[in-house]
């Protein structure tokens, strides 16, 4: 690929073939195994999808699971958790955790409702303000983690409480219904688009999730920022000594998580036509589950965005098919637990380097 350097007795083996865009086939068994584990969640997703088709009830000879209405339901249901999980992936990749996302979602939902209904703001200022609040909240948590060196678990646990508290104070502890119309105490009609679909098929929230997911995928794949994220998770000290701006990256990552949680909160308010301070309770755990099922290591430094997206979809399909078969919601929880453990166990089987 490049002329060998004449100053050395080149001991390094030949480079991979010069053709750039050629699909590189796994060279040996090790690579195949490695790729299986790398894309474990994708395989899992396909498997769960096929199982769902198989066990789905049918109505009038039609597979209920595969009906477009049902598939749309799944992606709609997944999108909020999915968007949060995208942000969570960045945080977990640097070896952190963000427990505050569910509460920030609630805060954002309350914010959206209050700003439009009570303060009479338009959609654009409302969205910008709410996103700013979420970002600032995340960045503040990141700054505390980076500056004071407190574990992110603790900082965001505190953040969770604080965000819930602020949301309750702001809303007076009650859900704020959103009515649409032109008059006072009414939100602009356009906001209800969030509960709609494009062509009656693709739900708007799913479209947003898709956009965010693809964007994050690209960011993680090809930016220097992403290399820094992985480096910090891999070995923070080495990263710092290599000139990686560790603090800045850390603050940015938590800011992203806060931003996406707020975005999910806006969507939440739009879908339910209200903003309640209790919205999003427990969402942080579902998001973490999606990341874990996606094969990202809680220790940081390794994982992928594709895995997280697949993990979120997998959880959504699982919930859906269990519900279609009228399986008790409590049983659903147990099944979800088992899947998380199975995914993590599968990662343990991944061959490690001695």
């Amino acid at each position: 690929m490049n002329p060998p350097n004449p100053t050395t007795v080149a001991a390094s083996p030949p480079e991979t073939p010069p053709r750039r865009r050629a699909i590189r086939l796994p060279k040996d068994r090790h690579a195949i195994v490695d790729n299986f584990f790398r894309f474990q969640s994708l395989f899992g997703l396909v498997a769960v999808f096929l199982i769902a088709i198989a066990v789905s009830p049918s109505r009038n000879g039609e597979n209920v699971f595969l009906s477009s209405g049902n598939l749309a339901n799944i992606v709609r249901a997944v999108s909020e958790i999915g968007i949060i999980a995208v942000g969570m992936t960045f945080v977990i990749l640097i070896g952190g955790i963000d427990l505050s996302v569910g509460a920030v979602l609630g805060l954002a939902a309350v914010g959206s409702a209050t700003l439009m209904v009570d303060s009479g703001l338009g959609i654009v200022p409302t969205v910008l303000i709410v996103l700013f609040i979420g970002t600032a909240f995340g960045a503040t948590q990141g700054a505390i983690v980076a500056r004071l060196g407190i574990q992110s678990f603790i900082v965001t646990l505190a953040g969770l409480q604080a965000a819930r508290g602020i949301a309750r104070m702001w809303s007076g502890g009650l859900g704020i219904p959103i009515a649409y119309g032109e008059g006072p105490q009414e939100a602009p009609e356009a906001f209800s688009l969030l509960s709609g679909s494009i062509n009656g098929v693709l739900p708007v929230p799913a479209l947003i999730f898709l956009a965010i997911g693809v964007g994050a995928l690209l960011v993680l794949r090809s930016t220097a920022f992403a290399r820094h994220v992985y480096a910090i998770g891999g070995n923070e000290k080495a990263a710092r000594l290599s000139g990686v701006p560790v603090r800045r990256v850390r603050v940015t990552v938590f800011a992203i998580s806060g931003l996406l949680a707020a975005l999910a909160g806006i969507i939440h308010a739009g879908q339910l036509n209200q903003g309640s301070p209790n919205d999003g309770a427990g969402y942080e755990l579902d998001a973490i589950a999606a990341v874990v099922i996606g094969g990202t290591s809680l220790a940081g430094g390794s994982g992928s965005m594709g895995g997280t997206i697949a993990g979120a979809l997998l959880l959504g399909i699982l919930n859906n098919i269990l519900a279609l078969n009228n399986i008790d919601a409590n049983v659903q929880l147990v099944v979800k637990g088992l899947v998380i453990v199975a995914a993590a166990a599968l990662q343990r089987l991944r061959p490690r380097i001695a």
């Binding site: 080149a10 991979t16 090790h30 480096a231 290599s242």
Partner: protein, 512 residues
Amino acid sequence: MTDRPLVRMTGIGKRFGGVHACRDIDLTVTAGEVHALLGENGAGKSTLINVLSGVITEHDGTIEVDGESVSFAGPADAQRAGIATIHQELDLVAGLSIAENMFLGREPRTRLGTVDIRRMRRQAEAHLRTLGADLDPRRLVGSLRVGEQQLVEIGRALSLRARVLIMDEPTAALADAEVERLFATITELRRAGVGIVYISHRMAEIELIADRVTVLRNGTVAGTVDPRAASRDDIIQLMVGRSVDALFGEGRNEPGDVLLDVRGLAVTPRRPVPGRTEPAGVDLTVRSGEIVGLAGLMGAGRTELLETLFGAGGSGRRAGQVTIGDRPYRPGGPRAALARGVAFVPEDRRGAGLMLEHSVADNVVLSALSSLTTLGLVRRPLVRRTVAEQLTTLAVKAASPSIPVATLSGGNQQKIVFAKQLLMRPRLLLLDEPTRGVDIGAKAEIYHLLHRLADSGMAILLASSELPELLSLCDRVVVLHRGRTVAVLPRASATQQAILAAANGDDVKESR
């Protein structure tokens, strides 16, 4: 040493993927002998040791203990058979006491089922005494120095009634006095009939304590020799497979202008960290094209000085002046230091130098990422080319740039750290023990590299505990004692004695 072997390994082989890590190796250990295992990194030492200690369970060949064939399902099996391992990275829990560490997992119990703390302490004390260590078993392991921690590990092995002790580079992290104590301990163990497998890169040590030397090369036994009969050159030749005559280059260029000027540098830490010796009056200069050595005993503050110069030291009030080129230099952190053309290769390459699980390529380009991006996007083809170039210039042996760094040998890992820093095209290179844990072949390559870099005009400041290394490599040697410059010895007048005398300072007895 005439009695039957404690351990006999026959025809040991192990493959990883398609690569033979070792092949058809025979090794015996008899009671009361120190059997040294030598070989370059990647020669198969670790694999062999992992087979013997039960870490690797699937392998070719047989292992006999006391004449009986055994197969280990795990390290616990090997321990039960009396084979204990002292790893380079010690397996101790810092937050527990010496006694608790020694009996971790098999604490003696009272009749009520609670831990019999007094018995545990008594037994720990007895083991420590056997080793000649005057330590209170109630002390936390985290408060011990590395040499003392090692004694705790050996004590644990004794409490397991180990008859074969594998020591993997036990002196790598020890100060000279501690090495002496370790050797006394080894003599004691040998007298008690323990067989010791001793791995080290240091020839002088092996000549001193080994009864037999087995040299591995490319996964096979290159020869087993008596160190008293064989010369050092013979052994090196066995290891490398060729004779290494010119380890150190000759004929250096004249150094240029002063690049780094340090005057009266002192740091008063905001929160003093025990065990750290911050600079307390350092004067030195490094000219471009010059290699300056930094000598001193353990705790003299060599690492702390390099870290301070790189902006990675502890926070605190600084006094004195540092200039690089003509401009004053006060780095706020590693990032700022790199921007000023200062690069640093830390001592602990696994802990502070590399992302072990990440690929070779990712590690190489980490520092230089900003020069390999457009609008924050990494330019992959450029990265690929850059990495390939660096790997070739430094002659790194890696199957591919995409394999994890952890799979490389120590010497090649160190070259990756170098590659990463050199990509920043530094004017001043700070090196902390750059050849620690690196085999003799890679060492020679690193020395050649340093000469080449100096000849190209780079200023190099190198801290090392190996005096021969300093003497042969450096134009001048700066000796530190308790954070202060106590001597600057030009090449002509630098001798081991002179350095040691200066390093010991005025008062002979080191209090800590």
